[in-house]
Protein backbone atom coordinates (compact mmCIF):
# COMPACT_ATOMS: atom_id res chain seq x y z
CA UNK A 1 0.00 0.00 0.00
CA UNK A 2 1.45 3.34 -0.95
CA UNK A 3 0.94 6.64 0.79
CA UNK A 4 -2.13 7.60 -1.24
CA UNK A 5 -3.74 4.20 -0.63
CA UNK A 6 -3.27 4.61 3.11
CA UNK A 7 -4.87 8.07 2.94
CA UNK A 8 -7.74 6.59 0.96
CA UNK A 9 -8.14 3.85 3.59
CA UNK A 10 -8.40 6.51 6.29
CA UNK A 11 -10.99 8.43 4.28
CA UNK A 12 -13.11 5.35 3.73
CA UNK A 13 -12.93 4.19 7.34
CA UNK A 14 -13.92 7.67 8.49
CA UNK A 15 -16.77 7.62 5.94
CA UNK A 16 -18.07 4.24 7.13
CA UNK A 17 -18.10 5.34 10.77
CA UNK A 18 -19.95 8.50 9.79
CA UNK A 19 -22.37 6.56 7.56
CA UNK A 20 -23.21 4.28 10.50
CA UNK A 21 -24.26 6.96 12.96
CA UNK A 22 -26.03 9.01 10.30
CA UNK A 23 -28.02 5.99 9.16
CA UNK A 24 -28.95 4.98 12.67
CA UNK A 25 -29.93 8.45 13.89
CA UNK A 26 -32.04 9.18 10.82
CA UNK A 27 -33.65 5.73 10.94
CA UNK A 28 -32.33 4.91 7.47
CA UNK A 29 -32.29 1.14 7.77
CA UNK A 30 -31.33 0.60 4.15
CA UNK A 31 -28.14 2.67 4.62
CA UNK A 32 -27.48 0.91 7.91
CA UNK A 33 -27.79 -2.46 6.20
CA UNK A 34 -25.30 -1.34 3.57
CA UNK A 35 -22.73 -0.47 6.26
CA UNK A 36 -22.98 -4.05 7.54
CA UNK A 37 -23.21 -5.89 4.23
CA UNK A 38 -20.14 -7.95 5.17
CA UNK A 39 -20.20 -7.04 8.82
CA UNK A 40 -21.12 -8.37 12.19
CA UNK A 41 -21.67 -6.69 15.54
CA UNK A 42 -20.96 -7.81 19.07
CA UNK A 43 -22.03 -5.82 22.09
CA UNK A 44 -21.36 -6.06 25.77
CA UNK A 45 -22.34 -4.02 28.75
CA UNK A 46 -19.92 -3.20 31.51
CA UNK A 47 -19.68 -1.10 34.61
CA UNK A 48 -17.28 1.82 34.24
CA UNK A 49 -15.69 -0.02 31.34
CA UNK A 50 -14.15 -2.55 33.74
CA UNK A 51 -16.46 -5.18 35.19
CA UNK A 52 -18.46 -6.94 32.51
CA UNK A 53 -22.12 -7.18 33.51
CA UNK A 54 -23.46 -8.77 30.36
CA UNK A 55 -21.30 -10.94 28.16
CA UNK A 56 -21.10 -10.18 24.46
CA UNK A 57 -24.18 -11.30 22.56
CA UNK A 58 -23.92 -13.90 19.91
CA UNK A 59 -22.66 -11.81 17.02
CA UNK A 60 -25.26 -10.46 14.64
CA UNK A 61 -24.17 -10.97 11.05
CA UNK A 62 -25.19 -9.38 7.79
CA UNK A 63 -27.49 -6.54 6.83
CA UNK A 64 -30.82 -8.17 7.42
CA UNK A 65 -30.02 -9.63 10.82
CA UNK A 66 -28.45 -6.40 12.03
CA UNK A 67 -31.34 -4.26 10.85
CA UNK A 68 -33.68 -6.66 12.61
CA UNK A 69 -31.63 -6.29 15.78
CA UNK A 70 -31.95 -2.49 15.76
CA UNK A 71 -35.64 -2.58 14.95
CA UNK A 72 -36.24 -5.09 17.75
CA UNK A 73 -34.08 -3.46 20.42
CA UNK A 74 -34.66 0.25 19.91
CA UNK A 75 -37.68 2.50 20.11
CA UNK A 76 -38.46 4.58 17.06
CA UNK A 77 -40.49 7.77 16.94
CA UNK A 78 -41.74 8.86 13.54
CA UNK A 79 -39.12 6.55 12.09
CA UNK A 80 -36.06 7.70 14.05
CA UNK A 81 -34.70 6.85 17.50
CA UNK A 82 -34.54 10.56 18.34
CA UNK A 83 -30.83 10.21 19.16
CA UNK A 84 -27.46 11.51 18.08
CA UNK A 85 -24.54 9.10 18.37
CA UNK A 86 -21.56 11.39 18.96
CA UNK A 87 -18.50 9.43 17.89
CA UNK A 88 -15.25 10.97 19.06
CA UNK A 89 -11.62 10.21 19.88
CA UNK A 90 -11.19 8.28 16.64
CA UNK A 91 -7.90 6.53 15.99
CA UNK A 92 -7.04 4.17 13.14
CA UNK A 93 -4.40 1.67 12.23
CA UNK A 94 -4.04 0.67 8.62
CA UNK A 95 -2.27 -2.68 8.20
CA UNK A 96 -0.52 -2.55 4.86
CA UNK A 97 0.43 -6.21 4.55
CA UNK A 98 -2.94 -7.75 5.27
CA UNK A 99 -5.32 -5.21 3.72
CA UNK A 100 -7.01 -4.80 7.08
CA UNK A 101 -7.66 -1.79 9.26
CA UNK A 102 -8.69 -1.24 12.86
CA UNK A 103 -10.27 1.80 14.41
CA UNK A 104 -11.15 2.70 17.96
CA UNK A 105 -13.50 5.42 19.06
CA UNK A 106 -15.74 6.58 21.88
CA UNK A 107 -19.43 7.18 21.54
CA UNK A 108 -21.87 9.25 23.55
CA UNK A 109 -25.53 8.89 22.70
CA UNK A 110 -27.73 11.87 23.42
CA UNK A 111 -31.51 11.80 23.22
CA UNK A 112 -34.41 14.21 23.66
CA UNK A 113 -38.12 13.42 23.77
CA UNK A 114 -41.14 15.41 24.84
CA UNK A 115 -40.86 15.51 28.64
CA UNK A 116 -37.33 14.07 28.45
CA UNK A 117 -34.79 16.89 28.17
CA UNK A 118 -31.73 16.53 25.94
CA UNK A 119 -29.25 14.36 27.84
CA UNK A 120 -26.53 11.75 27.44
CA UNK A 121 -28.06 8.28 27.82
CA UNK A 122 -25.09 5.95 27.37
CA UNK A 123 -21.43 6.15 26.50
CA UNK A 124 -18.96 3.51 25.50
CA UNK A 125 -16.34 2.51 23.00
CA UNK A 126 -16.20 0.89 19.59
CA UNK A 127 -13.45 -1.32 18.28
CA UNK A 128 -13.98 -1.77 14.54
CA UNK A 129 -12.25 -3.96 11.99
CA UNK A 130 -12.23 -3.28 8.28
CA UNK A 131 -11.20 -5.27 5.24
CA UNK A 132 -10.44 -4.38 1.67
CA UNK A 133 -12.87 -6.33 -0.52
CA UNK A 134 -13.88 -5.92 -4.13
CA UNK A 135 -12.38 -2.49 -4.59
CA UNK A 136 -13.29 -0.76 -1.34
CA UNK A 137 -13.09 -0.94 2.43
CA UNK A 138 -15.84 -2.64 4.42
CA UNK A 139 -16.65 -2.85 8.09
CA UNK A 140 -16.35 -6.55 9.00
CA UNK A 141 -16.59 -6.47 12.78
CA UNK A 142 -17.82 -3.99 15.34
CA UNK A 143 -17.29 -4.61 19.03
CA UNK A 144 -19.33 -2.28 21.21
CA UNK A 145 -18.69 -1.92 24.92
CA UNK A 146 -21.39 0.14 26.63
CA UNK A 147 -20.56 1.69 29.96
CA UNK A 148 -21.62 4.76 31.96
CA UNK A 149 -25.33 4.21 31.56
CA UNK A 150 -27.92 6.95 31.79
CA UNK A 151 -31.66 6.72 31.34
CA UNK A 152 -32.26 4.52 28.29
CA UNK A 153 -35.97 3.95 28.92
CA UNK A 154 -36.82 5.80 25.72
CA UNK A 155 -34.17 4.06 23.63
CA UNK A 156 -33.90 0.36 24.55
CA UNK A 157 -36.81 -2.00 24.95
CA UNK A 158 -37.57 -3.52 28.37
CA UNK A 159 -36.38 -7.00 27.49
CA UNK A 160 -32.96 -5.73 26.45
CA UNK A 161 -32.62 -3.50 29.50
CA UNK A 162 -33.30 -6.52 31.70
CA UNK A 163 -30.79 -8.65 29.81
CA UNK A 164 -28.17 -5.92 30.23
CA UNK A 165 -29.07 -5.81 33.92
CA UNK A 166 -29.83 -2.11 33.81
CA UNK A 167 -31.88 -0.67 36.65
CA UNK A 168 -35.61 -1.15 36.34
CA UNK A 169 -37.52 2.05 35.87
CA UNK A 170 -41.02 2.70 37.02
CA UNK A 171 -42.27 4.41 33.93
CA UNK A 172 -42.38 2.56 30.66
CA UNK A 173 -41.52 4.17 27.39
CA UNK A 174 -44.32 3.98 24.88
CA UNK A 175 -43.85 1.47 22.11
CA UNK A 176 -43.76 3.64 19.04
CA UNK A 177 -43.78 3.38 15.31
CA UNK A 178 -41.13 1.18 13.71
CA UNK A 179 -39.72 1.91 10.27
CA UNK A 180 -40.23 -0.65 7.57
CA UNK A 181 -37.45 -3.16 7.16
CA UNK A 182 -36.24 -2.84 3.57
CA UNK A 183 -36.44 -5.85 1.35
CA UNK A 184 -32.93 -7.11 0.55
CA UNK A 185 -34.00 -10.04 -1.55
Amino acid sequence: MNREEVAEARRQVRGIISAYFNALDTGDMRALGEVFRYGRTRAQSSRSGAQVIAEPDEPYEGSERIIQQFVTHNYFYDGTPSTKHFTTNLTMEIHHETNRATSRSRFTVVQARPGFPLQPIVTGRYVDSFEWRAGRWWLVDRFEDCFLWGDVRHHLVDELRRRLQLPEFERRAPRAEIPDVPDHS
Binding site: A7, R10, R11, R14, G15, I17, S18, A19, F21, N22, D25, T26, T80, S82, T83, K84, F86, T87, T88, L90, M92, S105, V110, Q111, A112, P117, L118, Q119, P120
Partner: protein, 145 residues
Protein backbone atom coordinates in the same frame (compact mmCIF):
# COMPACT_ATOMS: atom_id res chain seq x y z
CA UNK B 1 -11.12 14.92 12.64
CA UNK B 2 -8.68 13.22 10.36
CA UNK B 3 -8.11 15.69 7.57
CA UNK B 4 -6.00 13.53 5.23
CA UNK B 5 -5.06 16.16 2.65
CA UNK B 6 -4.37 19.92 2.60
CA UNK B 7 -7.74 20.43 0.87
CA UNK B 8 -9.56 18.60 3.63
CA UNK B 9 -7.67 20.53 6.25
CA UNK B 10 -8.73 23.86 4.73
CA UNK B 11 -12.40 22.93 4.94
CA UNK B 12 -12.03 21.46 8.42
CA UNK B 13 -10.39 24.62 9.66
CA UNK B 14 -13.32 26.69 8.37
CA UNK B 15 -15.64 24.64 10.56
CA UNK B 16 -13.42 24.96 13.60
CA UNK B 17 -13.06 28.67 12.95
CA UNK B 18 -16.84 29.14 12.68
CA UNK B 19 -17.62 27.44 15.98
CA UNK B 20 -14.78 29.28 17.67
CA UNK B 21 -16.18 32.57 16.36
CA UNK B 22 -19.63 31.79 17.76
CA UNK B 23 -18.34 30.72 21.18
CA UNK B 24 -16.04 33.75 21.40
CA UNK B 25 -18.76 36.15 20.32
CA UNK B 26 -16.69 37.13 17.27
CA UNK B 27 -19.75 37.64 15.10
CA UNK B 28 -17.88 39.70 12.51
CA UNK B 29 -15.84 36.59 11.69
CA UNK B 30 -18.86 34.26 11.88
CA UNK B 31 -20.81 36.52 9.49
CA UNK B 32 -17.79 36.67 7.20
CA UNK B 33 -17.73 32.88 7.04
CA UNK B 34 -21.45 32.85 6.14
CA UNK B 35 -21.23 35.75 3.68
CA UNK B 36 -21.82 33.62 0.60
CA UNK B 37 -23.97 30.95 2.16
CA UNK B 38 -27.58 29.89 2.21
CA UNK B 39 -28.25 28.58 5.71
CA UNK B 40 -31.31 26.43 6.40
CA UNK B 41 -32.21 25.91 10.05
CA UNK B 42 -35.34 24.57 11.71
CA UNK B 43 -36.43 28.19 12.09
CA UNK B 44 -35.97 29.39 8.55
CA UNK B 45 -33.57 30.19 5.74
CA UNK B 46 -30.91 32.86 5.88
CA UNK B 47 -28.96 34.12 2.92
CA UNK B 48 -25.82 36.13 2.37
CA UNK B 49 -24.11 38.63 4.68
CA UNK B 50 -27.33 40.24 5.94
CA UNK B 51 -28.95 36.85 6.57
CA UNK B 52 -25.94 35.62 8.50
CA UNK B 53 -25.84 38.79 10.58
CA UNK B 54 -29.56 38.52 11.31
CA UNK B 55 -29.18 34.92 12.44
CA UNK B 56 -26.44 35.97 14.84
CA UNK B 57 -28.30 38.94 16.31
CA UNK B 58 -30.85 36.48 17.69
CA UNK B 59 -28.28 34.91 20.01
CA UNK B 60 -28.40 36.04 23.62
CA UNK B 61 -25.10 37.35 24.96
CA UNK B 62 -23.45 37.39 28.36
CA UNK B 63 -20.55 39.83 28.54
CA UNK B 64 -20.44 39.74 24.77
CA UNK B 65 -20.47 35.96 24.35
CA UNK B 66 -23.22 33.35 24.02
CA UNK B 67 -21.72 31.35 26.95
CA UNK B 68 -21.66 28.24 24.78
CA UNK B 69 -19.23 25.55 23.71
CA UNK B 70 -19.71 23.83 20.36
CA UNK B 71 -18.21 20.32 20.37
CA UNK B 72 -17.66 18.59 17.04
CA UNK B 73 -17.97 14.83 16.55
CA UNK B 74 -16.13 12.72 14.02
CA UNK B 75 -16.22 14.60 10.77
CA UNK B 76 -16.66 13.30 7.25
CA UNK B 77 -16.02 14.96 3.93
CA UNK B 78 -16.01 14.02 0.29
CA UNK B 79 -15.32 15.97 -2.85
CA UNK B 80 -17.41 16.33 -5.98
CA UNK B 81 -17.27 18.19 -9.31
CA UNK B 82 -13.58 17.52 -9.96
CA UNK B 83 -12.63 18.54 -6.48
CA UNK B 84 -14.12 22.05 -6.32
CA UNK B 85 -17.20 21.10 -4.28
CA UNK B 86 -16.86 19.57 -0.81
CA UNK B 87 -19.68 17.93 1.14
CA UNK B 88 -18.99 17.99 4.85
CA UNK B 89 -20.94 16.31 7.58
CA UNK B 90 -20.48 16.72 11.32
CA UNK B 91 -22.51 16.55 14.50
CA UNK B 92 -22.26 19.43 16.93
CA UNK B 93 -23.17 19.29 20.59
CA UNK B 94 -23.80 22.68 22.17
CA UNK B 95 -23.27 23.17 25.89
CA UNK B 96 -24.23 26.32 27.72
CA UNK B 97 -23.97 27.68 31.23
CA UNK B 98 -25.28 31.02 32.48
CA UNK B 99 -26.15 32.39 35.89
CA UNK B 100 -29.64 30.98 35.43
CA UNK B 101 -28.79 27.76 33.60
CA UNK B 102 -26.47 25.12 35.05
CA UNK B 103 -24.12 23.60 32.49
CA UNK B 104 -26.50 21.82 30.12
CA UNK B 105 -26.76 20.26 26.70
CA UNK B 106 -28.90 22.67 24.76
CA UNK B 107 -28.65 21.40 21.18
CA UNK B 108 -27.46 18.39 19.18
CA UNK B 109 -27.29 19.26 15.52
CA UNK B 110 -26.21 17.64 12.29
CA UNK B 111 -24.40 20.12 10.04
CA UNK B 112 -24.61 19.13 6.37
CA UNK B 113 -22.45 21.70 4.61
CA UNK B 114 -21.40 22.36 1.06
CA UNK B 115 -18.16 24.23 0.54
CA UNK B 116 -17.01 25.52 -2.84
CA UNK B 117 -13.49 26.27 -3.95
CA UNK B 118 -12.94 29.70 -5.42
CA UNK B 119 -9.42 30.26 -6.71
CA UNK B 120 -7.48 28.92 -3.73
CA UNK B 121 -9.92 29.38 -0.91
CA UNK B 122 -12.95 27.45 0.22
CA UNK B 123 -16.16 29.19 1.18
CA UNK B 124 -19.38 27.95 2.75
CA UNK B 125 -22.06 27.76 0.08
CA UNK B 126 -24.88 25.85 1.75
CA UNK B 127 -25.61 24.77 5.29
CA UNK B 128 -28.51 22.56 6.37
CA UNK B 129 -29.09 21.87 10.05
CA UNK B 130 -32.71 20.79 9.78
CA UNK B 131 -32.37 17.00 9.83
CA UNK B 132 -33.17 15.45 13.19
CA UNK B 133 -32.08 18.32 15.38
CA UNK B 134 -32.48 17.64 19.11
CA UNK B 135 -32.97 20.59 21.39
CA UNK B 136 -32.85 21.22 25.09
CA UNK B 137 -33.53 24.44 26.94
CA UNK B 138 -32.79 27.14 24.36
CA UNK B 139 -34.35 30.01 26.29
CA UNK B 140 -30.96 31.33 27.34
CA UNK B 141 -29.45 30.98 23.89
CA UNK B 142 -31.88 32.27 21.29
CA UNK B 143 -34.28 35.17 21.54
CA UNK B 144 -37.79 34.36 20.38
CA UNK B 145 -38.61 35.42 16.83
Amino acid sequence: MYPTTPEERQVYEQLVRYFRAIDEGDFADAAHLMARATVRTSEGTWQGPSGGAELLTRLRLYDGRPATKHLMSTWDIHFEAAGIVAKSLVYVLVLQATEELPLSLIRATRYADTFVKDENTWYLSERDTTVGELTGDLRHHVSPV
